[in-house]
């Protein structure tokens, strides 16, 4: 197939049917915008989910009579574990201060003596820590004499886990729906564009054109349309992102402690290349049914 001739004929098509091109590109752009938007949302949500998932922690309550040596030894042991990210020693006094500050339960509790609040080792877990590992750690630590109790917040984490995974399922279902919709738009748009060429295809085939000759410019057109549409979609998404970034960061993101981020550059490239490829493939598929002349 002669690429240069195909380019020439594809450009002729562009010149002839500017209106059709506009319709096609705008439809494709909307479709890609949806896709990229869902990608962006999914990416940020999964960052948030990962961040939540990371906040696993274990409280190891120490006996009031535990010797500082034992505590230091236990602390060192915990630090050595692969699943442990950080260990902090909270004394009774600190615990009381924390409690009074956060619990908001009126002045009466202010009279509680520090002894009512046991000292603890607050263990922050690494993101890799699974529920089993946490249980294993808890089991081992409990056997120490200096330890009165271990709180793994298991119930809370189970709930959080369900929440995050339900969110993931919802995001996947949504993304699949959008992808379906996007494919329908793209398929119809390209089919429309190719159907308008039906007569030309017939004439060319009857004049001895090979399938490649006919397909060439149409695939080029499809590639170009897909490419331009994807670029437009990315640009629009970026504008939208920049406009909404600050309010979102100020509210939701601040609560969870993550800042929203735009699609990574390789993701942007993937969307654009994907647009071109989908355009090309759609055209090649659509043209097939008209080639049999």
């Amino acid at each position: 197939m002669d690429l240069k001739a195909a380019v020439t004929r594809a450009r002729r098509g562009l010149r002839e049917e500017r209106g059709l091109y506009l319709v096609a590109v705008s439809s494709l752009a909307v479709a890609f915008l949806c896709l990229a938007g869902v990608l962006l949302a999914t990416q940020n949500l999964s960052t948030m989910a990962a961040r939540w998932g990371q906040s696993g922690r274990v409280s190891v309550y120490l006996a009031g009579d535990a010797s500082p040596d034992d505590v230091t030894k236990l602390e060192g042991l915990l630090r050595g574990l692969p699943d442990v990210a950080r260990v902090e020693h909270v004394t009774s006094a600190q615990a009381r201060a924390d409690f009074l500050e956060h619990a908001d339960v009126g002045a009466a509790l202010g009279q509680l003596p520090p002894e009512a609040f046991p000292a603890s080792l607050e263990v922050t877990l690494a993101p890799s820590a699974t529920a089993q590992r946490v249980d294993a750690i808890a089991g081992r630590v409990k056997s120490f004499a200096a330890v009165t109790d271990v709180e793994t917040y298991r119930g809370w984490f189970d709930q959080l886990d369900t929440l995050v995974s339900a969110g993931r399922v919802a995001a996947i279902v949504l993304a699949a729906l959008v992808a379906l919709c996007v494919l329908a738009v793209i398929g119809n748009t390209i089919r429309l564009a190719v159907a308008r060429r039906r007569q030309e295809i017939e004439v060319m085939k009857l004049c001895g054109a090979t399938d490649g000759f006919v397909r060439g410019p149409l695939v080029l057109e499809g590639t170009f349309q897909g490419f331009v549409a994807a670029v437009i979609a990315i640009l629009v998404l970026m504008v939208g992102f920049l406009a909404l970034k600050d309010p979102i960061n100020a509210t939701v993101a601040a609560l969870i402690g993550v800042r929203v981020a735009f699609l990574s550059s390789w993701m942007v490239v993937a969307v654009i290349v994907g647009g071109a490829v989908i355009g090309a493939a759609g055209s090649a598929l659509s043209v097939r049914r008209y080639l049999d002349v």
């Binding site: 002669d2 001739a5 004929r9 002729r12 002839e16 007569q199 030309e200 017939e202 004439v203 060319m204 085939k205 009857l206 004049c207 001895g208 054109a209 090979t210 399938d211 000759f213 002349v293």
Partner: protein
């Protein structure tokens, strides 16, 4: 390894039949077109062609006539493989065109210059583009395309109209665009299906003369027409299709009695 896998060579059984290139000696002697006992059924009970036998020698000029619905267009469509024969076979330069692979059909058609009865020109293309497409398919360089299209348009009386949109042309002008596209590639065989139906008598004679000039350079011409005044004016071989069979009406002007009815009966 199937035939299709031989690449360019395997797919181009007819590449050497372009009008100007008949170097191969064995081929030049064979008739360009042989129809052997060709049947075509569009309806099972009523075949359109029932046992057509026809041999066209290289360089002949043949009128094809017959009443409306006789099967003239069908005959030509079988030759350019729009349809396939239901029985019998058609040999183009000795090759059975029913056995061409899908990939080879374009190379068969590049040896043909076809004027379709319904023109098959693209209304939203210019006249130039409609004619040039036949050369672009052959990957001809643009400068050559321009020159040859201009020449073809001049030969059909449309010089200077190249930039007009074909939709805006009159019926006869559109028909001449179709003729120009058929002759611009200098094909080995021209299949003209009613190429003068929308032309006034003067222009009809002009187009007929044009095909005769091209025929004089060695191109074979099959000219399907109803126009008895055209047929009567010229001394070409005449075949009539009647009741699905081919009747050789004459080999020379003198042997033909006149109207169709005297032939078909």
């Amino acid at each position: 390894m199937s035939r299709e896998d031989f690449g360019e060579e395997g797919a181009r059984p007819f590449a050497f039949f372009r009008a100007g290139a008949r170097a191969e000696p064995g081929v030049a002697n064979k008739p360009i077109l042989v129809l052997e006992d060709v049947y075509k059924y569009f309806r099972v009970d009523q075949p359109t062609l029932r046992g057509v036998n026809l041999t066209v020698e290289r360089g002949e000029f043949v009128f094809v006539t017959g009443p409306s619905g006789a099967g003239k267009s069908t005959l030509l469509q079988l030759i350019y493989r729009k349809h396939t024969v239901d029985d019998g076979r058609i040999l183009f330069s000795g090759r059975d065109i029913a056995r061409l692979t899908e990939r080879s059909i374009p190379y068969l058609r590049r040896n043909l210059g076809i004027v379709f009865q319904d023109f098959k020109i693209i209304g939203h293309w210019t006249v130039f583009e409609n004619v040039a497409i036949a050369l672009e398919i052959l990957s001809m360089p643009r400068r050559l395309v321009r020159a040859r299209v201009a020449e073809a348009l001049e030969r059909v009386g449309l010089s200077g109209r190249g930039d007009a949109l074909t939709d805006t042309l009159s019926g006869g002008e559109q028909q001449r665009v179709a003729v120009a596209r058929a002759i611009v590639t200098e094909p080995a065989l021209i299949l003209a299906d009613e190429p003068t139906g929308n032309l006034d008598p003067h222009l009809a004679i002009d187009v007929l003369t044009l095909f005769e000039e091209i025929n004089a350079t060695g191109t074979t011409v099959l000219f399907a027409t109803h126009d008895h005044s055209l047929i009567a004016k010229r001394d070409h071989r005449l075949v009539s299709i009647d009741e699905g069979r081919v009747v050789e009406s004459r080999r020379g002007l003198t042997t033909w009695a006149g109207g169709l009815h005297s032939v078909g009966g």
